[in-house]
């Protein structure tokens, strides 16, 4: 069966809903052809964010889930769909299976539906946050959390399958039960939930940012060829349009008038070096080709006209992105602003003021992004989730490129069960290059080499460290170990 795809409900005024920028962004990609997976790929958002957003949008009646081959939608607006329970979200086929179908045939005293359910949940655990796992919205109250937990607990508690042979499903169900219990225990405790929400918020913003940065990179790479093709840019190629106006990020912010004035002021500042904005549709004089007697003249004129159009098209592009940056800045979204500005700067390469402005904004955005990653990394370390912590530290290190974060990244990767030791070594080395006298980086490098089984490298690294601090106790232990091995 074809996977269902979301499509905008015809005739719905999205402005009357309370949506957030991510929803808005997602909606710009919903075309009635892309499925949830494609949308995740297209937007760069994680699967669970897309799944949750789609569920919310569907519940609100903004979108419908339809068969991609179904005829166009009937005009009347359907009543808002019921909230999908955690079980229904999989049973309803909203998401495609993520496991090898052969697993379904593993022997166990379970019905095929039960098996499917276990596998559906189990192989998605990494993508599921506590809310999506329980199939609840972020606003769900304590009672809602409990209800959802009870529903799943009734399915996955081992007592439901007392003295039955569950085969390979047994450990999976135990993991599932543990995870849903962890989700429940975290979400019913106000304090833990606040901490977890803060963590999720960091993840969401940075993920949104990552996606945006990636798109920006792809877009700027495309910019040249786009400009070559000149002429009104194809809608699909327009990257990251600002979130729709229906998404008031700050409901109680300054008045629209105030925002408009600020924007204008900002626009003046930002576009100081750019030629005055042109009307959105370029209207160069359209000379009649008949006026040219000689073919060369005609060719020249054509070339001029082409260049004019190219010029105005790129200007329109620059303008558009400056505008998007203003919108983003008004919402305090530094990363979006930075992205837009850097694209704008690409369209107007001679505009030094714009380039500087873009650089400044980028620095600010990087700072906020790295702070966010840092918070995530620390939360993950506290929870003992070393793989995640490793990834977060790597992101911090990529932005800050300082010894401390490289060292932490190496350390966390080293501790994680599936850590890439090569990456860990690179981070440790970078930390040492940046701050050669930081003994911790040396020790970490030695440990990485040892774990990778590279005795000779470990010995060299340990000796270098030893020259630095011959009394470091951890290092002495490592040296002895190398000596023995």
């Amino acid at each position: 069966m074809a996977e269902k795809v979301p499509r905008l409900t015809p005739g719905v005024d999205i402005r009357k809903f309370k949506l957030d920028p991510m929803d808005g962004f997602l909606m710009t990609r919903i075309d009635g052809k892309l499925g949830p997976k494609d949308l995740a790929r297209e937007t760069g958002l994680p699967d669970f964010s897309v799944a949750r957003a789609l569920e919310k949008l569907e519940k609100l009646g903004v979108i419908q889930l339809v068969d991609p081959n179904a005829p166009p939608p009937p005009p009347p607006q359907p009543p808002p769909a019921e909230r999908k329970s955690a079980v229904a979200q999989f049973d309803g086929g909203l998401l495609a299976p993520k496991y090898d179908p052969k697993e379904l045939e593993a022997p166990a005293d379970l019905t095929p539906e039960q098996k499917k359910r276990v596998l559906d949940f189990y192989f998605r655990l990494d993508d599921l946050d506590h809310y999506t796992l329980l199939g609840i919205t972020k606003e769900a109250d304590k009672k809602g959390v409990k209800r959802a937990y009870f529903e799943l607990a009734a399915l996955f508690h081992p007592d439901r399958y007392f003295k039955k042979d569950l085969g390979t499903f047994k450990p999976k169900m135990e993991v599932l039960f543990n995870r849903i219990t962890e989700a429940h225990d975290t979400l019913v405790d106000a304090e833990q939930r606040a901490e977890y929400d803060a963590y999720l918020a960091e993840v969401a913003t940075t993920r949104g940012m990552e996606a945006m940065l990636e798109r920006a990179m792809a877009d700027s790479a495309r910019t040249a060829s786009d400009a070559e093709r000149a002429a009104p840019p194809a809608a699909a190629a327009v990257p990251a349009p600002p979130p729709p106006p229906s998404a008031p990020a700050v409901p109680t912010g300054p008045s629209p008038e105030e925002i408009r004035r600020r924007k204008e002021a900002l626009a003046r500042r930002l576009t100081g070096g750019v030629r005055p904005p042109q009307p959105s549709r370029p209207t160069p004089e359209e000379p009649s080709p008949l006026r040219y007697s000689n073919p060369q003249d005609a060719v020249d004129a054509l070339k001029r006209r082409y260049e004019d159009r190219l010029e105005s098209a790129t200007q329109a592009h620059a303008q558009r992105y400056v505008q998007a940056a203003e919108d983003a800045l008004a919402k305090n979204d530094l990363v979006a602003a930075s992205t837009s500005l850097s694209i704008a700067a690409k369209f107007a390469p001679d505009d030094v003021a714009l380039a500087m402005r873009a650089q400044e904004t980028k620095n600010l955005a990087d700072k906020s992004l790295s702070e966010s990653y840092l918070k995530q990394a620390q939360y993950e370390e506290r929870q003992g989730h070393w793989s995640e912590a490793g990834r977060s530290w790597q992101k911090v290190a990529r932005i800050r490129n300082d010894a401390a974060s490289h060292e932490r990244a190496a350390h966390a990767i080293l501790r994680s069960p599936d850590g890439d030791l090569h990456e860990a070594a690179e981070h440790a080395k970078q930390a040492i290059t940046l701050q050669p006298n930081k003994i911790a980086s040396h020790v970490t490098l030695v440990e990485v080499y040892l774990k990778a089984g590279l005795q000779a490298s470990a010995r060299r690294a340990a000796e270098a460290a030893n020259a630095l601090d011959p009394k470091h106790p951890g290092l002495q232990a490592l040296l002895k170990r190398i000596g023995k091995g």
């Binding site: 009870f150 529903e151 607990a153 009734a154 003295k163 219990t181 370390e381 002495q476 002895k480 170990r481």
Partner: protein, 607 residues
């Protein structure tokens, strides 16, 4: 499908139930009674008696009649509870070969599980008579606050009785199952269970899909109706002593009569305001003349005698609410369980505390057995939509260097569960670690119950703190605890399944702990702390290097001396924080140290 009976093995009375056609019912014994006294006796002829028949002959055969054996099950000989029982019981309690408890009946020694097995067997027979078929599976209840040793001993008793105990569940939980079964309610319920020997309080959530989730549970395994009886006996004995200067406790038969009379008076006072205790010919005065005991006990006196005991139960309720992170008004129903809750003073105390009239819809003596039967049916019958999410009543952990108890699974954690923590070696060149598995809430290891131990060997020789050992605790749905220790470097692994250890004295445990001291693991220092410590120590070293120079330069000015004092104070504070291994405090001091260092450098550079 095989039938599973539910047995409430009580301190004073036991009860058996079964689910028939989806309805839980209590099975009456041959005498038509729904509960059976948990009493066992051996007659002169060597015949074993259980239940009502044992109770009836108790007075004439006091020395060979066992009651309240539950108070002794799974306990060590030298525990205060056993000492107390030895002093007050009419039957003989002696020390067993493994520091366990033995009961002597007609010169024969019985272990406590053997005695309990006789009661369980009686319950099994009652069920078999009723059903007309053999029964081999049972769910048996225990007080929520029983530790693993006591649970294991209860399971052993079942095995001796020829029963496969498929699950042990907590009494208040069973009561809640019975209360909520088939009612399709969503409620937060407190079960106040005051029985013959133990007091328990559990807070549960009953929700959709037949899910019962225990939120918190606590109790006192030595606080029950028997203690109130003992207060009445004390009152009678001391009154008699004043009058006749004779200690009735010296006579085991008199003691048994007093016990019966106290229990009877206590029960009567739940419905009347005063009652007469009348025991003619209770003892001989020594001049061939028998003395009589006759006293009037009023409800007010009884309440006075038991006031502090009731207060204790309310204190435990308070604590449990706190553990559950709930306010009183979030408790939607209070269910009373256990014979003691018939006492008006207890009902009013509970009502006053929870500010809610307790539910009287369940039968306090039968509800626990019904709940056990419901759990039994739910386990073996797929059609029963009911799942019990239970918690571990005590924290589980290991002993670490310095005799600390390091918790891995906290109290009130939903089972099944597993938790992992990383530890390190506690001394240089340590090649083996002993993992002492413990249960309890005290920070001091020796105050907790020791469940088992094992050794992980073959560690690399290294300075202390270098070798990391990962310890994993796992509790499965059956409540079985298994512990695994893994050397993170070599991947070497050792594990045990914890089965209750009985038969170790406190001294033996202490010796064991002492002997293990050299081979313990240590808490792993946090990364955070190490990082902060390194930074702080570096700054301190640099500041101290500059100290003499700075002192020379600024000593002449008041301001300079003041600054030096301040710098010293900051360094001291930082050192203290490092000493305490307080990561947050060290981090806080780093700022001050950085400032001081900068200032010092500035001073030195300027001159």
């Amino acid at each position: 499908m095989e039938k599973v009976i539910g047995i409430d093995l009580g301190t004073t009375n036991s009860c058996v139930a079964i689910v028939e056609n989806g309805t839980p019912v209590v099975i009456p014994n041959r005498g038509g009674y729904k509960t059976t006294p948990s009493m066992v006796a051996v007659t002169e002829a060597g015949k074993r008696l259980v239940g009502h028949i044992a109770k009836r002959q108790a007075i004439t055969n006091a020395e060979n009649t066992v009651y309240a054996a539950k108070r002794l099950i799974g306990r060590k000989w030298n525990s205060p509870q056993v000492k107390n029982a030895v002093a007050t019981s009419s039957y003989r309690i002696v020390e067993g070969p493994h520091n366990d408890v033995r009961i002597v009946l007609r010169d024969k020694e019985f272990s406590v599980p053997e005695i309990s097995a006789m009661v369980l067997q009686e319950m099994k027979v009652i069920a078999e008579d009723y059903l007309g078929e053999a029964v081999s599976k049972a769910v048996v209840t225990v007080p929520a606050y029983f530790n693993d040793n006591q649970r294991q001993a209860t399971k052993d008793a079942g095995e001796i009785a020829g029963l496969d105990v498929i699950r042990i569940i907590n009494e208040p939980t069973a009561a809640a199952l019975s209360y909520g079964f088939g009612r399709n309610i969503e409620k937060t319920v407190a079960v106040y269970d005051f029985g013959g020997g133990t007091f328990d309080i559990s807070i549960l959530e009953i929700g959709a899909h037949g899910v019962f989730k225990v939120i918190a549970t606590a109790g006192d395994t030595f606080l029950g109706g028997e203690d109130i009886d003992a207060r009445i006996i004390d009152w009678l004995v001391s009154g008699f002593k004043e009058e006749h200067n004779i200690d009735l406790r010296q006579d085991r038969m008199a003691l048994q009569r007093l016990k019966d009379a106290a229990e009877k008076a206590k029960c009567e006072l739940s419905s009347v305001r005063e009652t007469e205790v009348n025991l003619p010919f209770i003892i001989s005065s020594g001049r061939n003349e028998a003395l009589h005991l006759q006293r009037t006990l009023t409800r007010a006196t009884l309440e006075e005698l038991s006031d502090d005991l009731i207060e204790r139960t309310i204190d435990i309720c308070k604590q449990t609410l706190e553990d559950a992170k709930l306010e009183k008004n979030e408790i939607e129903e209070v269910v009373l369980v256990g014979g003691m809750t018939r006492m008006p003073k207890i009902q009013s105390a509970v009502q006053a505390f929870f500010e809610k009239e307790p539910n009287k819809g369940v039968h306090p003596d039968e509800v626990v057995a019904l709940g056990a039967a419901i759990q039994g049916a739910a386990l073996v019958d797929d059609r029963q939509e009911m799942v019990l999410l239970d918690v571990t009543p005590h924290a589980l952990g290991i002993m670490t260097f310095g005799s600390y108890f390091e918790e891995l699974i906290p109290q009130n954690t939903t089972v099944p569960t597993h938790r992992t923590k990383i530890f390190t070696t506690s001394r240089d060149n340590q090649t083996a670690v002993k993992i002492l598995v413990m249960q309890g809430e005290s920070q001091r290891a020796e105050e907790n119950e020791l469940l088992g131990e094992f050794i992980l060997t073959g560690l690399r020789r290294a300075p202390k703190g270098q070798v990391e050992i990962e310890v994993t605790f796992e509790i499965n749905a059956d409540g079985i605890v298994s512990v695994r220790a893994k050397d993170l470097e070599t991947g070497l692994e050792q594990s045990i399944q914890v089965t209750a250890t009985s038969g170790l004295t406190r001294e033996e445990i202490k010796t064991m702990m002492d002997n293990a001291k050299d081979d313990l693991v240590d808490r792993r220092t946090s990364e955070e702390f190490e990082a902060a410590k390194q930074e702080a120590e570096k700054l301190i070293a640099e500041i101290e290097k500059l100290f003499p120079q700075v002192q020379q330069i600024v000593a002449s000015s008041d301001f300079g001396r003041d600054a030096i004092e301040k710098a010293r104070a900051i360094v001291e504070k930082a050192r203290a924080a490092i000493e305490r291994r307080d990561a947050a405090a060290v981090k806080e001091q780093i700022e001050g140290l950085t400032r001081t260092h900068r200032m010092f450098k500035g001073v030195v550079a300027k001159t």
